[in-house]
């Protein structure tokens, strides 16, 4: 009896926590189809009485979600791919090629980047982008995003590549492959599971990034989703129903990705111990 009680006490506490996590999303979801602020104010907790789906249409148009969405999507994807190419080449050289004295040193230099607080480097990078005339182009995000995720990616990929048996190179060499061939045709295919994890984590990091995107781009048509949403909030904060629809647009894609790939995402994020 007491055991049962204890078991259910744990579930009650966890359910309360779950409610705290999920209710804000539900609140926004309900608010997004309510007619106006008054309807939200009168019935904040409940299901909407009338559904105003046009909030979604108007938010899509007013908040230019489609523009921001596409900007975010292609910047996040391309930067993540660029990181993976660079980091996997470096990880291959560091773990598989026979430079056993040099490699640990170079590895240390690369992962030093994890210890450096990103914010502290924002000003020099801003200046670098300005002096190369890249401010206010998407290059101003693509290049720093790709570079900033290198240390984390190298940590994960070297750990994975180290665990591959050394016989694979020997066999490949006997078959006449040289290092680029071994990299592209032997090691990379075997590394796919780690590459997928690293790609998703970097993609999410790029997708959610706010500070660089906020300060490096001023042209509206170039902005990414988080920055665009903040601008929309500042302009339309009086209409909370429409703002909620905007929030739904920016939260749903990430939720869908998370729902499908949550194991890999949790694995990757907690392995790197990286924070937004």
């Amino acid at each position: 009896m007491t055991k049962k009680l204890k078991g259910s006490l744990a579930h009650i506490l966890l359910m309360i926590y779950l409610l705290v996590i999920l209710y804000p999303f539900l609140f926004v979801l309900f608010s997004s189809v309510k007619t106006d602020n008054l309807a939200i104010a009168q019935n904040p907790f409940g299901f909407p009485k009338e559904f105003q789906w046009s909030n979604y249409v108007e938010a899509w148009v007013n908040a230019k979600i489609s523009t921001y969405f596409l900007n975010s999507l292609y910047i996040a994807v391309i930067a993540a791919i660029a990181t993976i190419i660079m980091a996997s080449m470096a990880s291959f050289a560091l773990t598989r090629m026979r430079f056993t004295k040099l490699s640990p040193m170079l590895y240390q230099i690369i992962i030093l980047g994890i210890l450096i607080p990103g914010n502290a480097l924002l000003l020099p990078i801003y200046n670098l982008m300005r002096s190369t005339n890249l401010l206010d182009t998407h290059w101003a995000l693509l290049i720093p995003y790709a570079a900033n995720s290198i240390p984390f990616s190298v940590v994960i990929l070297t750990a994975f590549m180290k665990s591959l048996p050394s016989e694979i190179e020997e066999a490949a060499v006997v078959d006449g492959l040289r290092s680029p061939g071994i990299f592209a045709r032997v090691v990379m295919p075997l590394t796919v599971p780690a590459l997928v994890t690293v790609f998703i984590v970097n993609f999410l990091g790029n997708w959610n990034e706010f500070l660089l995107a906020n300060y490096f781009l001023s042209e509206d048509s170039l902005k990414t989703l988080p920055v665009g949403m903040v601008g929309f909030r500042d302009a339309f904060s009086i209409n909370y129903a429409q703002m909620s629809a905007g929030i739904v647009y920016s939260v749903v894609p990430v939720m869908v990705i998370y729902a499908i790939l949550q194991e890999k995402i949790i694995e990757g994020l907690t392995a790197g111990g990286v924070k937004g």
Partner: protein, 294 residues
């Protein structure tokens, strides 16, 4: 054999792209920030003067700077003394339930993959004085309206709650993984000896997860030093500078008001503070972690 995997040329070609990135976006910026922190450069002009430690002494004499340091301190204290106990409690609870374990784990982690900017907007709505969720809940208990984000006394704590909402689950999953990896025999042996659930949690699980808890503390301190986007989105440092942290203070005084040298001295201070914490972490945590054996 050796030839294929020992070609210096190939080795260099594989590493060059990464090192170009590391040099341009980590090494150069650190050096650049350190260098200009000793100058009065405005970020645009062709000339600048060396001013020694003037930027550093200036920041130290600014009340607003100390407010931002204090707020970083709040962030750290809140993380360590409020968030960490909750993280341990909920990790133990999730580890010990039989049903719905997967649901709890998946759901609590979810906010950590969301954009901080969008979460800032979402919570701004929840804190909205007239139609937001919080004041409605308080209203049910007959408590007066609170202007969460525009009241100096409440703005910082409102941001800390939002930050905790976003990241607590992230750390719970880390601690949970550590608890699950503890061999079951230890717990079973204690159970046979007649230890209660609470005793087992305190005497067996807790000591064994201390290394990961130390990592969590370290990460949340580092996170507290980094926090900037959530503040920019929710309060822009206001009301009257009461939610400014070092990173937002730096941004305000550099990009927006062209004090590049001064801004970089703040960047260096953030860097030094974080470095000290990292060094402490190496000494206090990493060594201890290596000693744990089952």
């Amino acid at each position: 054999m050796n030839k294929a995997m020992r070609s210096p040329l190939m080795y260099a070609l594989f590493l060059i792209p990464t090192f170009v990135g590391i040099v341009l976006f980590f090494i150069y910026p650190v050096a650049n920030a350190a260098f200009y922190s000793f100058t009065d450069w405005n970020g645009i002009a062709k000339t600048y003067n060396f001013t020694g430690l003037a930027n550093y002494t200036k920041s130290m004499s600014q009340n607003a700077f100390w407010v931002s340091v204090k707020n970083n301190g709040f962030f750290i204290l809140f993380s360590v003394f409020i968030q960490v106990p909750l993280i341990i409690l909920f990790s133990l609870l999730i580890a010990n339930v039989k049903k719905l374990k997967g649901l709890y784990k998946t759901a609590v982690f979810m906010p950590s993959v969301m954009s901080t900017a969008v979460i800032g907007i979402l919570w701004g709505f929840i804190y909205e004085p007239d139609i937001g969720l919080f004041n409605h809940v308080l209203g049910l208990f007959g408590i007066d309206k609170v202007y969460w984000l525009s009241d100096r006394n409440w703005a910082m704590i409102s941001i800390l709650i939002t930050n905790a909402w976003q990241w607590t689950g992230f750390y719970i999953v880390m601690v949970l993984a550590a608890i699950i990896s503890i061999p079951k025999e230890l717990d079973e042996a204690a159970m046979i000896d007649g230890a209660t659930g609470f005793q087992r949690a305190m005497r067996i699980t807790m000591p064994l997860i201390m290394p990961i808890v130390s990592v969590v503390i370290m990460l949340s301190i580092a996170g507290a030093m980094k926090a900037a986007d959530i503040i920019i989105v929710m309060t822009k440092g206001g009301p009257a500078g009461s939610t400014e942290v070092m990173a937002t203070y730096m941004l305000k005084h550099s990009i927006t008001s062209f004090k590049y040298g001064y801004g970089n001295s703040i960047a260096v201070l953030i860097f030094i503070f974080t470095l000290i914490i990292t060094a402490l972490y190496q000494v206090l945590v990493v060594r201890r972690t290596e000693r744990i054996e089952y």
